[in-house]
Symmetry: C2
Subunit: 148 residues, 2 copies
Amino acid sequence: MEDYTKLFDTYLNSRKMKLTASRRLILEAVFSLHEHFDAEQLHQVLRSASQDISLATVYRTLPLLLQAGLIQPSPRPGTRGMYEHIWGHPRHAHWVCVRCGAVQETPLDSVDPILAREARNLKFETQETSVEVKGLCWKCQNSANDSQ
Amino acid sequence: MEDYTKLFDTYLNSRKMKLTASRRLILEAVFSLHEHFDAEQLHQVLRSASQDISLATVYRTLPLLLQAGLIQPSPRPGTRGMYEHIWGHPRHAHWVCVRCGAVQETPLDSVDPILAREARNLKFETQETSVEVKGLCWKCQNSANDSQ
DNA sequence: AAATAGCTTGCGACTGATTCTCATTTGAGG
DNA sequence: CCTCAAATGAGAATCAGTCGCAAGCTATTT
């Protein structure tokens, strides 16, 4: 049993809920995806694997995974209903252009120690750090000056 | 004419669009609010000021303000259709508990210089920095151990 | 293994948010 | 004032997400 499956099971038990076949399959699908996803996409993945799970069940399961700390809402603003699983991928900052929506990433090496210190102060158990900087990418700075 | 009105006008002109009375009123309303808001709330504000602007127009104007760089989607994940105007309020980090949803804030003094340096490298014109740390607050760490 | 109780699921109806359509109005320029 | 493109209001249409209920599982008890 995968690590995350165990975690989910524990969470469900604590709520008198069951780790059913459907939930297990949804969990598998979530961790098979390495990009942001929404309920609809997850449902597609399951369908294409011939797993007949209703969309309603997908919608019902996502909040559970969220509460169990296995997924989180996508940090991208303006994207609705998007999630991503919590995975040990390298921490990074997002630089989001508010005009064109382009996103660049930079590593978080220099920021992480600072946040780790503050987490200690707050007694906060960090799962994922997301640093979002919004503004204008250099392209849009130029087009803004050209008045379009 | 306020600074932001001028900015909006410039943006609209560049698109062959007009700074109409409605748009001006919506802009006023947006900048009168110092909290996150959605289309509905904005519409209420306008109504209570006896400005009869249809909800559809509010919905049509928000993307324009967004593109003009005057507002941005709320950085809080899971809040859909929420915006806030871009205002020089003090930068801070959010510590969001993925289980109970509680949010704490800490100032960004130590992180800011680092991001400023990276912005320079990327030629990125920063408008707002949001640092979101997700994990378990100390309360939920405890209740997790108590298996609820 | 059958009986039971409670949790889960699928289905389709439902809700609320957002977008679209189109007839009418408004605004800038001539 | 005239004209034409752009903007608006009202309500219909769409879309994502939720809900209610009857039927299906699962774990547990006889």
